[in-house]
Amino acid sequence: MTATATAGHIPPGHRMRRPCFRAPSIIPGFGLTFGLSLTWLCLIVLIPLSAVFIKTAGMGWDHFSSVALSERAIAAYRLSFGASLGAAFINAVFGLMIAWILVRYDFVGKRVVNALVDLPFALPTAVAGIAFTSLYADNGWIGQYLEPLGIKVAFTQFGVVITLVFIGLPFVVRSVEPVLADIGKDVEEASASLGATRAQTFRRVILPAILPALLTGFALAFARGVGEYGSVIFIAGNMPYETEIAPLLIITQLEQYDYAGATAIATVMLIASFSLLLLINLLQAWSRRRTVD
């Protein structure tokens, strides 16, 4: 009220506070840190990614479709995205289980299990790939027992999935763990005291509470899987149309000095990944909205 009354009497040179794109905060240094962050993001993420698009835009449609939309490329996308989604699903289930035992139980060797979970982060991916290949090859430690059962892992799509499960495991465990720890034991006891079975408690009380975190872990594991190269090329066998992943196809183009072709495939992967991640984020926002906190 008083503001409108005095609005006409603002002395010249004293401008009204202009609308600002940030909320007022008493923590200083927003300008500096925001500027640096933006520069950093541009240098590291935005410029390299836009270069991919610019390079791709320079090639004609015919060239683009002959490389990026060829039958061989599409088979590679299908494998890359399919195997990554499958691995992320498997990780969501077993990662949740590992997070569960780490949070809910005390047992001998808990620290060791805890450390094992992070191992895929630390191990050079090539080492992991070679280890998996030698284990699951027809004459490997595990492969020799699977062979008589008619299960082939090394040099098949199945092998790709297994490697990606290994690579993506920590993401789900580490995303879910803190949220699971945050759900009090008393909430589960409350559910039980109201007559719910263990299954009902899990489905109706625990799962909804950890769903956003589980989706985060899923998305991270998936994204990591799509981009994974080092470990997969060893176990995949890299047969065109069969076990050739999209990142390998990019390398193949590069080796033939077809840089535009390489960026074309990269562009398709980028768009597909981005759409999928966006979808997962929307799903997450939806499930989070139901848990206002």
Binding site: G184, D186, V187, E189, A190, S191, A192, S193, L194, G195, A196, T197, Q200, R204, V205, P208, A209, R290, T291, V292, D293
Partner: protein, 363 residues
């Protein structure tokens, strides 16, 4: 299935605990607890932390299982029955609401998890939830989420949720522990009214003696895993069964004395005691009296000599704090406003009502 919130007295449960004991590692949480609880009773389990009161409540609920002993509901041995099958209402100290569900869904939970053939129709559930929310005076907040409520409101939602399954027994673990004093007082009175109108058996755990004495029909005072006394609030206050109970419940003064030849002696001199005081056997003993059970006298042979260190008003009288001569102990008494002593003055305190317990004070 109509909801019978008004009077379920005939449904209230009786409980019997038979030599319950429980150990955690090497720690004895409960040692040989025997307790019988009448149907419709409002019982308080009172004790300091670590006294085993919460463990006992959890054993009655079925959230914990005793190492030895049996639990009976209405004479049936249900010791091995899981909490989900016992049909009790349990209210947790920190509410334990399901935060991704609305208030109404929280309250409905116990009904919606029932097997299909026992589950009431949606409309029936809805009506019952509304009735319960009205009962806890939150009828307009059904669509909110727990995070949008205050502490007192959350506790009432937790209560409505527990009552939704029509329990015959309501168990409350420090139900007001996390609330501020004002809300606590309101909720206390309200819970007592609720208990009387619904007419079930209620047991609550508390470390707050005022809460126990104000609310409960009977109070069970516990310490170190054993029951010290089971009595009405009045008896607990007036006739504490042990030094611990006297010390823990209400304000008290304590003096270490020696009993010899039917007299209480302090510093080689006989301490006159009020008529009718029962003495323990010869040996060290602890003498207790309440601040309002003492007076200031002139005769220095008639009581305990002390120097006044502080005086302050205390609801209608004056609270006098003094240091006892030759003892490293304070004494607190309530005296009439007229003739109250000044700080620094020497006074003789004569207890008018005392209790003596054999043994030495713990350090």
């Amino acid at each position: 299935m109509a909801l019978r919130l008004s009077r379920q007295g005939d449904r209230a449960l009786s409980i019997k605990l038979d030599t319950i004991s429980k150990n955690f590692g090497g720690f004895t949480a409960l040692g040989n607890i025997n307790l019988e609880i009448e149907p419709g009773e409002f019982l308080a389990l009172l004790g300091p932390s670590g006294s085993g009161k919460t463990t006992l409540l959890r054993i009655i609920a079925g959230l914990e299982f005793p190492d030895t002993g049996r639990v009976y509901y209405d004479g049936d041995d249900i010791t091995d029955l899981k909490v989900a099958d016992r049909g009790v209402g349990f209210v947790f100290q920190h509410y334990a609401l399901f935060r991704h569900m609305t208030v109404a869904d929280n309250v409905a939970f116990g009904l919606t998890v029932r097997k299909r053939r026992d589950r009431p129709a949606k409309s029936v559930i809805q009506a019952r939830v509304q009735e319960l929310l009205d009962l806890v005076q939150l009828g307009h907040l059904g669509k909110r989420y727990p995070a949008q409520l205050s502490g007192g409101q959350r506790q009432r939602v937790a209560l409505a949720r527990a009552l939704a399954v029509e329990p015959r027994l309501l168990l409350l673990d420090e139900p007001f522990g996390a609330l501020d004093a004002r809300v606590r007082k309101d909720l206390r009175r309200w819970l007592r009214e609720l208990h009387d109108s619904v007419g079930l058996t209620s047991i609550f755990v508390t470390h707050d003696q005022d809460e126990a004495l104000e609310l409960a029909d009977r109070v069970v005072v516990m310490d170190h895993g054993v029951i010290e006394q089971i009595d009405t609030p009045q008896k607990i206050y007036d006739e504490p069964a042990s030094a611990f109970v006297f010390d823990f419940v209400g304000e008290s003064n304590q003096v270490a004395v020696t009993i010899a030849g039917g007299e209480a002696r302090l510093f080689d001199r006989t301490l006159p005691l009020p008529a009718g005081t029962t003495l323990p056997g010869d040996g060290p003993a602890r003498l207790f009296f309440r601040p309002h059970d003492a007076e200031i006298v002139a005769d220095d042979k008639a009581g305990l000599a002390a120097t006044v260190t502080l005086t302050r008003p205390n609801s209608g009288s004056i609270r006098v704090e003094g240091k006892l001569d030759g003892l490293d102990r304070l004494v607190e008494i309530d005296v009439p406003v007229e003739g109250a002593p000044q700080v620094g003055e020497r006074i003789i305190v004569r207890p008018t009502r005392v209790k003596l317990y054999a043994g030495r004070a713990e350090a």
